[in-house]
């Protein structure tokens, strides 16, 4: 007897590789490699190609990356979250005020911040879903609330002095190499710190959630067409609330990682950071209309956004505001590519009909 089970035929490899959904990610990786190559040719002799420069890009931008993981998920559902930087700043304030003024354990403060951040995220998600309020406005209110709370706690920057916290901030894995059967640190000294590990772990968790769980499928389905998702009896409310709560969680981690980076809390810290985070997700190929995006793209989006300041530092004579213009141009380039990809795939779909 013939096998009656319906075999789902996998698409051929070339088809899968040239899937227009992935073109954005290739573009991001390609542009990153191009800029890196450019940097290597121009400033290779000044040490642009060293492992240290490469890892520093991670160390200086890990906190944006952590938040970009949650933001990618929110954007895939077709929403947006403007409160991330404010919640991160609030976390920093909690740690700094709790530790330096109230004498609490910083990790207890982080736990409290976690409850507040995740709670606020879930609340915003519920408001967006049940009251049908635009995400932009809801999360804007969340941002005002978190920033206001920061400022009510303290209007000045508070330093964090705690042995355990310092130890965590100073924790490093040095990059070693084998010389004559002995492990020595590479020169110039390069290392990976807790923030970078956290960033990579979050990217992996995000990728796992999106790719291999039912939840991830629901996220894409809601982003593709919320009405259809509802008709398919997918748990739209639960998924949306989870995504915003998860983003709140990522924002708190961003705050922790930023506090580890600067070792202080400030009510105006990371101002405008939410748009940096959204920009890195978009550069990484996430569509703001929802339904498209993945973590690999976001990883390279964050790297691409961090290579520009690095290049400007190496150029030396360029002023920092060129960085803003370069980021703007980069965004323009990527939304241009996105536009072409979307039009192209729409046409392809159209011809199939």
């Amino acid at each position: 007897m013939a096998d009656k089970r319906i075999r789902i035929k996998r698409q051929s490899l070339t088809n899968r590789i040239f899937n227009p959904k992935h073109v954005m990610v290739y573009a991001t990786i390609g542009v990153f490699l191009l800029i890196y190559l450019f940097g290597a040719l121009m400033y290779g002799d000044k040490g642009f190609t060293t492992i240290r420069t490469f890892l520093n890009m991670f160390i200086d931008n890990a906190y944006f990356g952590i938040s970009a993981v949650g933001m990618t998920m929110v954007l895939i559902t077709g929403g947006i979250d403007l409160s991330v930087a404010a919640v991160a700043s609030l976390t920093g304030m909690f740690i700094a005020y709790g530790n330096s003024v109230l004498g609490m354990d910083p990790f207890l403060c982080i736990a409290i911040a976690m409850v507040v951040g995740v709670g606020l995220g879930a609340l915003m998600g519920a408001m967006i879903h049940y009251l049908n309020v635009p995400p932009f406005i809801t999360t804007l209110a969340g941002m005002f609330l978190a920033r206001g709370a920061c400022s009510l706690i303290s209007r000045e920057s508070i330093a964090i002095n705690n042995a355990a916290f310092d130890a965590l901030a100073g924790w490093k894995i040095y990059i070693m190499k084998l010389v004559d059967g002995e492990w020595v640190k590479v020169k110039p000294i390069a290392f990976v710190n807790f923030n970078v590990m956290l960033f990579l772990a979050m990217i992996l968790i995000g990728a796992y959630l999106l790719k291999s769980t039912r939840l991830g499928r629901n996220v894409y389905a809601i982003g593709g067409n919320e009405q259809s998702a509802k008709l398919m009896f997918l748990p739209v409310a639960k998924t949306k609330i989870f995504v915003y709560a998860f983003n709140g969680f990522c924002s708190v981690l961003m705050g922790v990682s930023y506090a580890l980076y600067v070792k202080s809390g400030w009510n105006l810290a990371l101002q405008g950071g939410e748009l940096e985070v959204i920009a890195s997700a978009v550069i990484g190929g996430t569509l703001l209309t929802g339904g498209v995006g993945n973590m690999l793209g976001t990883l390279f989006g964050v790297m691409l956004k961090s290579i520009i300041p690095a290049l400007i530092t190496f150029a030396g004579n360029l002023l920092s505001w060129w960085g803003k213009i370069a980021t703007g141009l980069l965004l323009l380039l990527f939304i241009g590519i996105q536009r072409i990809v979307v039009t192209y795939s729409a046409r392809r779909k159209g011809s199939c009909r």
């Binding site: 748009l275 002023l319 213009i325």
Partner: protein
Amino acid sequence: MKTKFDFSRIMKSKITWAVIAELMILLVCLIIRPEFFQISYQESTGMLYGSLIDILNRSSEITIIALGMTLVIALAGTDLSVGALVALSGAMALKLMRWDMSEFPTAGDYSITPMFWVILVALGICALFGSFNGLMIARFGMQPIIATLVLMVAGRGVAQIITNGRQMTTNFAAFKFISQGSVLFLPMPIIITVVIFILMSLLTRKTAFGMFVESVGINPNASRVSGLRSSLIIFTAYLITGLLSGVSGLIYASRIGQNDSNNAGINYELDAILAVVIGGTSMSGGKFSLTGTVIGSIIIRTIITFVYYFGVAAEATMVFRALIVVVVIVLQSEPVREFMGKRRTMRKVAMGGELHG
């Protein structure tokens, strides 16, 4: 035909809630401190003074931008670049007045370029950038949030390049007049706002433009098929918003007497969007109300003034703002309004009254 005073229609209107919110805040002010409403006339400057005047005066920057933003939001878009354009317009104006500061190193009552050109070029460059936004969105069909994010990021960079990263100061009387002068006993910014409001109302209510905007906002494809040039209308809306951001930038620069590429117009995009939404224009596009927007902007400023006036920590404004936003958006949200509407019709049915659509 006689139009009946329909209470439920008024309760359902979004502007009503905004007006009620504003009156509530003012009522609280009145109860706590009646002198909040004092308005005095000062001979020397020929201007009226008082908290209420101050609210109108200080809200003008946001109101002017929000009037343009109303059109953009009615077209189901957003313009995030307005804050950067405020900085850009100020930078351009100061650059034209001081140039490279080598001839006249100190700030004074002079300008290198005539006032006419200062205003024209500053507004022109903002209109140019506004039309860049419009072009990307209308012609290339990019998403408004992301298309305007480009200028939001790059605009401040351009502003810094124009002034070479410097902060220039001016005491040029004609330029200062924009914010400190007065006409008809009122500060100049209020006059500018009123003039722009009248112009915008004429444009949207006396010509077909307003109807076209609503039509495109509700369904761009249907509008295009029925013969409207959607892209031209979208383009115009962004152009107007860019231009109005330039006006707002001139007022701001004139107020502080200098350019500040990093801090001028920061968060203006959020305040302007907020003003529009509080005013009852839905973010998903469609019907809009310029009057509502003005009320929304005044509400935001009233909260800020209220907080300053009563000596609450300045930072608490953010929390107040968040609470007001939450209250307004919850009241305006579809389920709540439907619920309110249903309750009212149910009561009517119970009383044996007729049902009107």
